[in-house]
């Protein structure tokens, strides 16, 4: 395979910078930008002014403050859900790959069944069980990611398990846990990372959509998705309360997608 042209890696760098900036801004935003996210500071849909740089929203709250606080649920829940999915994926995938007999096959079949469930549907179902809770969104993101992670990890671990040294170590009488820790895990780091990247990209979609659909922590807690929904009716008066969260989501999701795609290519080339 030819090495990708220079433009592609520059694209990856730009995307990486954008992701880093937005993730940092989302996580630190609430600490850096003070002010109340629920206080009414003016009339609804005031145009941007020096007091309110992005104007006011549907009930007269400061859009900039809400923008600074609204990235946290999108990014933090996506990160947490991805981490959870990867942990479960590694545990189940490695176990399924090393197990003898049909247990591994059966596990994968069951896990695959969950893959059929459309992601948004699962999130809606969980949100019905746990209304107004971020936990439902977190669990939904994780459960949606697990089937993919298990498949990737199992395939990678099976390859390692079939290579001589694992068989030698097991035949020598090494403990299973030691074999997994020393021989299997270090060798599946790359596919696991690449997969986690792709899962994160999908997770951002879900957490953003959760805000939009009014799932997760209930109003008036800000979320970029919810801000899009709340402020869309006011675009004729002032467009920034609507456009600011839209742009934040566009830049975040597109750059995450480009970055993880690039990351997966790089990791695949090296292994």
């Amino acid at each position: 395979m030819k090495r990708p042209a220079g433009g592609t890696s520059a694209r990856g760098t730009v995307a990486g910078g954008a992701v880093g900036l937005l993730v940092a801004a989302s996580l630190l935003g609430p600490a850096l930008v003070g002010g109340s996210v629920s206080a009414q500071v003016g009339l609804p849909f005031e145009a941007p002014s020096s007091a309110h740089l992005l104007g006011t929203d549907v009930v007269g709250r400061d859009v900039l403050t809400r923008l600074a606080h609204g990235g946290l649920p999108v990014v933090a829940l996506a990160l947490g859900g991805t981490l959870l999915a990867s942990l479960v994926g590694v545990a189940v995938g490695v176990a399924a790959a090393l197990s003898r007999g049909r247990a591994g096959e059966l596990t994968v079949r069951v896990v695959d069944g969950f893959g059929v469930l459309p992601a948004v549907l699962l999130m809606l179902v969980l949100a019905t069980g746990f209304p107004g809770s971020d936990l439902a969104v977190l669990v939904a993101v994780a459960v949606v990611g697990v089937p993919f992670s298990v498949r990737v990890v199992r395939a990678a671990a099976q390859q390692i398990a079939a290579s001589g040294y694992v068989e030698v170590a097991l035949a020598r009488g090494d403990r299973r846990s030691a074999v997994i820790r020393r021989d299997v895990l270090p060798n599946i780091v790359r596919p696991v990372l690449a997969d986690a990247g792709l899962r994160f990209s999908a997770a951002v979609h879900l957490t953003a959509a959760a805000g939009f659909l009014g799932l997760g922590r209930s109003a008036p807690a800000p979320s970029w998705g919810r801000m899009v929904d709340e402020n869309a009716p006011g675009v004729a008066l002032t467009v920034w309360p609507f456009l600011a969260p839209v742009l934040a989501l566009v830049v975040l999701s597109v750059s995450v997608n480009i970055l993880t795609d690039r990351l997966a290519t790089i990791l695949a080339e090296r292994s």
Partner: protein, 317 residues
């Protein structure tokens, strides 16, 4: 394996998956929340009211009994009744599923020709200028959450240009295709997302075909461009296309929940989002189960079509 046997096996597998999913849906919505009767009856209900409601909703029975009750009724085609408005779930499904299917099919009809064309053109010359441009655009478009695309389209066409309705208002008892302009933006949103995903999937499967010896032979004979794509790559891409369509179908049903909510389009996804907002548990259960069944049916059809056009896929699994 004969085709009939394949269909039977896949049907059995789909049934098993649906049974597992029904348990998951029931568990997530019904077993976990606390005092459902208390919530429904309201703050100023008497103890007797609550007890009556508890009995009527079978809340005094064990979760397993209730699940078996519900699943048994569902097997007989009765998905129960919503708590808000008291409509039968079947009635809601009958009203909304055709609308959602129409939207999904329209989006697929728009997306598929574009995706096949783009996939083949990019696969014919991997790493070329067209490939790189299309790959970047599809990567970006696939990266956008559906509701963001939808909101941007609604803003551009509804508010800025004012040519299309921002909200898909359909008169009661009327079907959306009787006033087609309300379908344009929802279908376009889904089509953009579907095109991006399908192009990427088809590109990778067509790329394998493009590396095959017979395609090289054709190239050496001087066949190139669109002719190469249509005569030599397209026929070999039918089976993967069928499976891509099946995967997309499930994805579109999920995406439709969000897109229908943006435009208030009267589909099953919009109804489901409403039911979740109202905490109408039986309605959520019924609609979710129906959506899962639809997604499974789509995957099944994709497998069967793939097996018909490409006998090699009948082997294995």
């Amino acid at each position: 394996m004969t085709l009939g046997l394949l269909v039977l096996r896949r049907l059995a597998a789909a049934g098993a998956v649906l049974a597992v999913l029904s348990a998951v849906i029931f568990l997530a919505t019904d077993v976990l929340p606390g005092d459902a009767a208390g919530v429904l009856a309201g703050a100023d209900a008497t103890t007797a009211d609550r007890a009556e409601l508890t009995r009527r909703l079978h809340l005094d029975e064990s979760p397993v009994t209730r699940y078996l009750h519900w699943a048994g009724d569902a097997l007989h085609g009765d998905l129960g009744q919503g708590q808000v408005g008291g409509r039968a779930v079947n009635e809601v499904l009958g009203d909304t599923v055709p609308n959602s299917l129409a939207l999904t099919v329209l989006a697929l009809a728009l997306a598929l020709p574009c995706a096949v064309l783009l996939g083949l053109v990019t696969a014919a010359r991997l790493g070329g200028r067209a490939d790189r441009a299309v790959s970047l655009v599809t990567l970006a478009a696939a990266g956008l959450p559906e509701f963001v695309t939808a909101a941007l389209l609604a803003w551009a066409f509804g508010a800025l240009l004012g040519v299309l309705p921002r909200v898909s208002l359909v008169d009661l008892g009327e079907r959306p295709w009787e006033s087609p302009e309300v379908m344009v933006l929802p279908a376009l949103t889904l089509a953009i997302v579907a095109t991006a995903i399908a192009t990427r999937l088809l590109r990778s499967s067509a790329a394998d075909v493009a590396a095959a010896p017979y395609v090289r032979a054709a190239r050496l004979r001087g066949v190139h461009g669109l002719r190469l794509a249509l005569r030599h790559l397209l026929p070999a891409s039918f089976a993967p296309t069928a499976q891509v369509v099946a995967v997309l179908f499930g994805g579109l049903l999920g995406g439709a929940v969000v897109v229908e909510s943006v435009f208030n389009y009267p589909g099953v996804g919009f109804e489901l989002a409403q039911a979740v907002a109202n905490r109408d548990v039986p309605m959520v259960q019924g609609l979710s189960l129906a959506l899962c069944a639809l997604a499974l049916l789509g995957l099944l059809c994709g497998d069967v079509v793939a097996a018909v056009v490409d006998p090699r896929t009948r082997r294995g699994r």
